[in-house]
Amino acid sequence: MKSAKLPPPEIAAPTPAALEQERRVLLELGNDITRVREKNDLLTLFGKRIKQLFYFTHTIVTLIDRKDETYVPFLLDNEGSPIRSHERYQEMVEARFSLNEPFIQAVLQAEEPISFLLEDIMDKPKSPAFLRVNYEKGVREILMTRLMKEGQPMGFIHIYSDKPGSFSNEFRNVIKGIAPQLSSAVSNIIKNEELLKKEKEKSFLLDFSSDIASVRTKDELARAVRAALGKLNPPGGFVIRRINEDNTTMSPYVYDLSKTHDPEILRALESARYPIDDGLQNRILDSAIPLLFNVEREIQRGITSAYLQYWKGMGFKEVVGIRLRNGETNHGILFLDIGEINIPLLQGICAQISIALANIMANEQISKKQEEQAFLLDFSNDVTQARTKLELQTAIFRVLDKTLHTKLAMLRVIDEDGLHMLPFMFDRTLFENAKVDFEKMSAHRITIDETYAAQVLASKDGLVFNVEEELKSGNAYAQLWKTTGLKNMYSLPLRVGDKNIGTIWLLANRLSPLILKGICAQISIAIANILANEKLLAYKKQLEVENDYLKEQIKTIYNFSEIIGGGEQMQKVYRLMSLVADSNTTVLILGETGTGKELIARAIHNTSPRKDKLMVKVNCAALPANLIESELFGHERGAFTGAIDRRIGKFELGNNSTVFLDEIGELPLEAQAKLLRVIQERELERLGGKQTIKIDVRLIAATNRNLEEEVKAGRFRADLYFRLNVFPIPLPPLRDRSEDIEPLTHFFVEKYSRNTGRKIKKVAPKVIQQLRSYTWPGNVRELEYLIERSILLATNGTLENVYIPQHADAEKKEQAFLLNRSLEEVERDYIIETLKRCAGKISGAGSAADLLKIPGNTLHSKMKKLGITKADYFSN
């Protein structure tokens, strides 16, 4: 290396005036330097002052970087530099020149300023390029001076001249003298710049902080972040991605991708869910420091996440990723499209974004919770108002749709038997794709011991079945579940207190367990209420019916407490009754109206083992024809128009008791067939029902008709007749048991005198005689009413008159009626009848006398005797 040439020694000593000027210039320069705060002012002032004394073209300051043993331009002379027009100027400004070369090493070794002729050194191997660049712009000589700090070189001041020999000894001395001042000035500038930068960052963060402190929503966050990052240098796009609820994916939350205007890409980015463990996102989340990565390199690394391709397409090359973390929880990632990292600034920004994000998320969660709670409250309202299954169903479907976005797969309720689980409610629309299967499956009655039901009932908070897994494990239901395309089957036990009342099944991809639990608790209560309500109604109805029977029983209690009559005929009846009472045999009681058929039936029931339960009486004649079946067998809700409630039929009501079918002869043929089946099979189906119900009833039928004749006439089914006619008990008419009339009379007198409050102590023998001679077409019932009437009409304590009906109807042809007349009456009636037929002609051919085969005079005298006037035979 060729050493620097020293200028020739000075010939003449400097004049005092020159020295004075130099002193003044240096003093001014020293003053200037202490005032310098702006970096390029230093060179400008330096140049201006020194140029008053010496000649040079321009000057620059370079700084040493220990990191890689280089020196880099720091202060540039923007006015004097002739190389600014050189094509490599910009390259020179940005270059890092190695310290490992002879030229700069010579400068480092030199204690004093050292000068070089450019042409001597610029082409030496490893010589820095700026030497040649300067030379090409006319510069010929360079004076290099070390700037020292704490005993170490920190940089250099380069002084250039286009005139060789410009750097006199005096010049060198001056430069040597001011070098320490320049060093401290440069140090100050560096410190000042650092301070300014820090200050700028601080105020940036402060601004950002106050912006972000007011952020409450996602949109506000986006605005604040966009405004802040827009101030960064250089501004680029950014994306904040948030960790989704599933904790396995991330989705863009707030972003500014102004580099793309392709709505399709934006939409794809926006709606995407990227798995966290994609090889990049997880790296960033695991890293405490911001990571700078190259998009192309990450793609080459094999990371297939779509966003990298989009970024590449948008021209993102280097991206910084920083995790957004609050305490120990990662919330997301901030991606910035910039190529450099200012750690303190980024960490400041991210800390604030993290807090804002956490706040927003907490806010969102709270408002979501509130919404859910409000909805649950509404649901609670709806549910408490639900009195019927339909109202409940509407409420349940609505809450499932609104809060959980799912449909009810199945709700089963444990039956009263505590074993079976019946489908209570389900949404048909859910399994539209597999309707057939579902109907079949839901009709299938399961018990609480069924595998899945048992698991659910045993679980505390319900179970989640993964559809795919269940499918693999061969769950038959899973096939059906799969048709919905939903991933999980949520099943929860419905409980009231500790008591299981059923199970609920919901198909969904994901449900919030808390809200699900809340809903189920309410559904449980609602169902329990409805079931209790239904049960209550049923009990109420049963009680009402029982009450009716009891009333009826009370009405007749005196009647059957004792069956009056000890005559031979009745003895026969008693014997039959005692024979049949203990058995379950069907009894057919035959007898005229008023003979006490119901009394006998009750007596049989009351002496049978079934006497503890109420006998159910059905009056077949009193039923409207179209309701007979529902009356007898009951019906399901909606079995026919107007069937609003389920109704329990008489047969079901009389289960384990006796059903008394009064007036069986009046039963329509259709109902006869059904009845026959019940009697034969001892089981029935409610109208509109699918279930058959086993029943155990004892039948007692009664009729006043002659069933054999009815059968012949085709009005009564023969098979039914034979079924009923197992044990007939014929009741004698009252006229055949006249010996019982007296005790019956006394019984009724006593009963009604007590009821009416009249004290009848005696019955006149005449009255007894009258009663015995009457034929009693209305049998005992007629006797009872007759006595009642007579008691009311009696004037004193003795029953002296009875009002036996007299000839009430001339047309009556009944034997009993005819038998009740005297010969005179018969004779009179017959003569009137004949006269009517003969149009009032008494004698002569075709006359009444002719028909009666008596002489006309005889007829005349008879008519006179019997008091027959024209009015009798010409009336009507």
């Binding site: 790296r283 420091i289 990571l291 700078l292 190259n294």
Partner: protein, 251 residues
């Protein structure tokens, strides 16, 4: 090649940097003073750009158990994360012979964590486990001194000169990653008291060495042969005498 030497201003680091620069490589000295901080991550990403090899020779500024662990864990994670992003092709770190046998010592636990981080990072690596440096001898004597006596356990010892360490590190830096552990040691194996006796004698130190059989190193219980390589190791060329000769003479 572009090589970043973390801890490049330290005892071994500066020597390695010098050797590598001598070889004409672009070497970046990573140290907080040069604006590259593995704890805060400052300057790390920029330094890693286009870097081929990273040599991690950094040591914890504090030797307290918790601080050491935190240092090696944080620095290791940050450094390796930045390397992965930048596509660095070789990570080289300096560890200690017997590090896995001395896990009762906090510092060793931290070094093993550092090794594990490297092994799991996916970056091709070379871990060099070295024995103690000859340069430690004065320190070992000082920490064991009680009055005029120096209590040293009779453990095996095979110290290596720091120049040898730097040479081995530089050599491995320029070689392909071995994806494993390379052990290096000094040319002589004696007991620790023997080395200390020689050193005190040669430096005219009046203190008396009192060997004991407690098997301790810096107060921690260690297996007798933990400080020396168990299997094959590369041995340095500078023995005790040569090393001592090269030491600046005390005035």
């Amino acid at each position: 090649m572009k090589i970043v030497v973390i801890g490049g201003s330290g005892l071994i680091g500066s020597k390695v940097v010098a050797i590598l620069r001598q070889g004409g490589h672009e070497v970046i000295v990573g140290a907080p003073a040069t604006g590259i901080n593995t704890i805060t991550g400052e300057g790390l990403a920029e330094a890693m750009k286009n870097t081929d090899v990273v040599v991690d020779l950094a040591n914890s500024p504090s030797f307290e158990d918790k601080a050491v662990m935190e240092f090696f864990e944080t620095a290791g994670r940050n450094l390796l994360a930045a390397e992965i992003n930048a596509g660095v092709k070789h990570h080289l770190a300096l560890s200690i012979v017997g590090v896995d046998l001395m896990q009762n010592v906090g510092y060793m636990r931290a070094k093993l964590v550092q090794e594990d981080l490297i092994k799991r990072s996916g970056v091709p690596y070379t871990i060099i486990r070295s024995t103690q440096f000859l340069d430690f001898l004065p320190g070992i004597a000082n920490q064991a001194t009680d009055g005029n006596q120096v209590h040293i356990s009779n453990v095996q010892f095979q110290p290596i000169a720091s120049d040898d360490v730097a040479a081995f590190v530089a050599e491995a830096t320029l070689a392909a990653p071995i994806k494993g552990i390379l052990e290096i040691a000094g040319p002589e194996r004696l007991t620790m008291p023997e080395f200390v006796i020689r050193y005190l004698h040669d430096t005219s130190d009046a203190r008396q060495v009192v060997p004991n059989s407690r098997s301790q190193y810096y107060g921690g219980e260690i297996p007798n042969a933990a400080l020396v390589p168990a299997g094959h190791a590369k041995l340095g060329t500078i023995n005790y005498e040569k090393w001592l000769h090269n030491q600046p003479q005390k005035v």
